[in-house]
């Protein structure tokens, strides 16, 4: 019996994934989201194949051009191809989002499950930490950190991690609290299984789903922070193309050419819509309870 059980649940698990995918594809919102998210990831991964030009190639003679067959989204003030720069910008966006949200989810989940499972004084201490961080004005805090530690990709990621892990921590805490007295957890405890092992084996697998959905919906927000800092000249250093720095080029030359600004905003809007639609749909499918009140 015991040998058969894992196999059975594995089959059921695969069936779940298939059912979720089927629902995603049949719903127009979910489908749009899925297509955008996949294209975004593909663009970032295959930027060197997809980009028609070298994103840093300067061509002063053709500066600030409108869209044409050679340059679909026109060129910037140095004659660089805007489309190629946007395609490479997807790499920065994806990297910042994936790395920083990944680390934030790990930290948040560990602290959140300790808060939810551990003694109440520890819970209070961790909640105070979460509340303190929540009360920081994110963008202003980011500016203060940048002035101290200097602008870089690492600084941006550190800021995102530091300000976003409490969100996942809080969610994890509530989830853990509802599970701490569940039968399988109690019997694991009665068997003398150590607390870390209980958290890892018996609580985490049941609580991580909603956290991951919320995390995926935070991706546009994180990409937005990167864009804001790079827009302000406090993020990625030039000439590295980032959506934020391209927005800044567009802002500076708004009277000469509206194309740069217009096309730099488009990927940000698309990615936002993509992740939000996908996240909403996944949440409705997997966990209808979570959708309430939001």
């Amino acid at each position: 019996m015991a040998i058969l059980e894992p196999a059975k649940s594995e089959v059921a698990g695969r069936g779940d994934v298939r059912a979720v995918l089927r629902r995603l594809v049949t719903d127009p919102m979910g489908l749009i989201g899925l297509v955008i998210v996949i294209s975004f990831i593909a663009t970032a991964l295959f930027a060197n194949i997809l980009a028609p030009y070298d994103p840093d190639k300067i061509d002063i003679l053709n500066k600030l051009q409108g869209p044409s067959l050679e340059h679909l989204f026109g060129t910037d003030q140095l004659g660089r191809d805007t489309l190629s720069r946007l395609i490479y910008g997807a790499q920065i966006a994806l990297m910042v989002a994936a790395v920083s949200i990944g680390i934030a989810v790990v930290i948040g989940s560990i602290l959140g499950s300790i808060a939810g499972y551990g003694p109440s004084w520890l819970d209070s201490v961790i909640m105070l930490l979460f509340d303190t961080i929540r009360s920081y004005p994110v963008i202003m805090f980011a500016l203060a950190v940048v002035v101290l530690f200097g602008p870089s990709l690492t600084t941006i990621m550190a800021i995102v991690i530091a300000t976003s892990f409490p969100t996942y921590g809080r969610l994890m805490r509530t989830q853990t609290q509802t599970l701490r007295n569940a039968e399988h957890v109690l019997s694991a405890r009665a068997l003398g299984i150590s607390t870390p092992l209980i958290l890892m084996r018996h609580i985490l697998p049941n609580t991580i789903g909603p956290v991951l959905i919320v995390a995926s919906m935070d991706i546009p927000f994180v990409i937005g922070i990167e864009a804001v800092l790079s827009f302000l000249g406090l993020g990625v250093r030039p000439p590295t193309p980032s959506w934020g720095s391209i927005l800044n080029d567009g802002f500076t030359y708004i009277r000469n050419s509206s194309w740069i600004l217009f096309s730099a905003g488009a990927p940000l809007i698309l990615v936002t819509i993509g992740f939000t639609f996908l996240g909403e749909q996944l949440r409705d499918t997997l966990d209808p309870k979570l959708g309430r009140g939001r």
Binding site: A144, L148, L232, I254, F277
Partner: protein
């Protein structure tokens, strides 16, 4: 209620203290001599020594922290490295502009209430679906793109709105005119957010007994909605007030820079560019205190309206 109020205020003080301590430690986490970092490599040893003395940098960390806190309690946020004026004076000069921006954005976000209410009443109708999709999309939309696109279309292309500045403060109509786009930049996401919350709670309230009873009595629909349903359905969005204040305040930086408005965000940005550390720290601390104060008041209002919220402080 009194215990809750005291608890909540103590928590707020604790949070501010934690935030201040973090900020203090962050300054000291930077490698190198803080005086060196603040003044730059070209400052003479005498100037550096004077700054070290003024900031008590040669004393032990705990003594420094004590001076830092006792200064704050007395309203001393430090002094501006360039003009030598107290940071608090400079911040307070800019604060009204930002406060107006935040207040207007909060007011604008209440547009979400009728939108959500109408969507809930005509559930699954065309309006509901369109409003649902639109609000889901704008909630997550980065404010920077919203602001820049509005600047591009309404100010530069259509020339409907002014491009920069806060307008003439003597002429209130002009001032309002300059306020429209910045307010929408930071407030539009909250219209979507509030409409979603109101819609969800309205649907729940409409199926409750007292509303069904009102229907059974044959009261006019408009009266049922305004007198019995909407009043309750609005409550959950007040819970969000605290979060909204923090969020909107933080994004004023974006609106103030795009539309070249005076205010705290712009002050902060300019002091970051000129590496004016005390001004940066002072501005961030002031903002944090304002936000913690705002969220505390929002939580207290919420607890006053809904006793259930008093159970879990924070």
């Amino acid at each position: 209620m009194l215990t809750y109020t005291i608890q909540r205020i103590l928590l707020a003080i604790l949070i501010v203290a934690m935030a201040v301590a973090t900020m203090f430690l962050m300054i000291h986490a930077v490698p190198g001599d803080p005086a060196n970092v603040m003044l730059g490599p070209r400052a003479t040893p005498e100037i550096k020594a004077a700054l070290r003395a003024r900031l008590h940098l040669d004393e032990p960390m705990t003594t420094q922290l004590y001076y830092f806190f006792s200064g704050l309690v007395q309203g001393d946020f430090g002094f501006d490295l360039r003009s030598n004026r107290p940071v608090l004076d400079i911040v307070l000069e800019q604060f009204p502009h930002t406060l107006i921006l935040v207040g207007s954005a909060l007011i604008v976000s209440t547009i979400g209430i009728p939108v959500g209410c109408y969507a809930a009443i005509h559930r699954n109708g065309i309006f509901d679906r369109v409003a649902g999709t639109v609000s889901v999309s704008i909630i997550a939309m980065p404010a920077i793109v919203v602001g820049l696109y509005m600047l591009l279309f309404f100010s530069v292309k259509l020339r409907l709105f002014p491009v920069i500045g806060a307008g003439n403060s003597g002429n209130w109509l002009d001032y309002l005119w300059h306020l429209v786009l910045p307010v929408l930049t930071i407030g539009i996401a909250w219209i979507g957010y509030i409409s979603r919350i109101v819609r969800a709670s309205m649907i729940e309230v409409m199926s409750q007994n007292h509303v069904r009873m009102a229907h059974a009595f044959g009261l006019p629909e408009a009266k049922i909605i305004s007198r019995y349903a909407l009043r309750i359905a609005v409550l959950p969005s007040i819970t969000m007030l605290g979060v909204a204040i923090a969020f909107i305040f933080s994004s004023t930086v974006i609106a103030e820079i795009i539309f070249a408005r005076p205010g705290i965000g712009r002050l902060l940005y300019e002091s970051v560019l000129s590496r004016n550390y005390p001004l940066v720290m002072g501005t961030v601390l002031f903002s944090t205190i304002f936000i913690v104060g705002g969220t505390t008041i929002a939580d207290l209002i919420n607890a006053m309206l809904d006793p259930r919220a008093r159970k879990d402080p924070g």
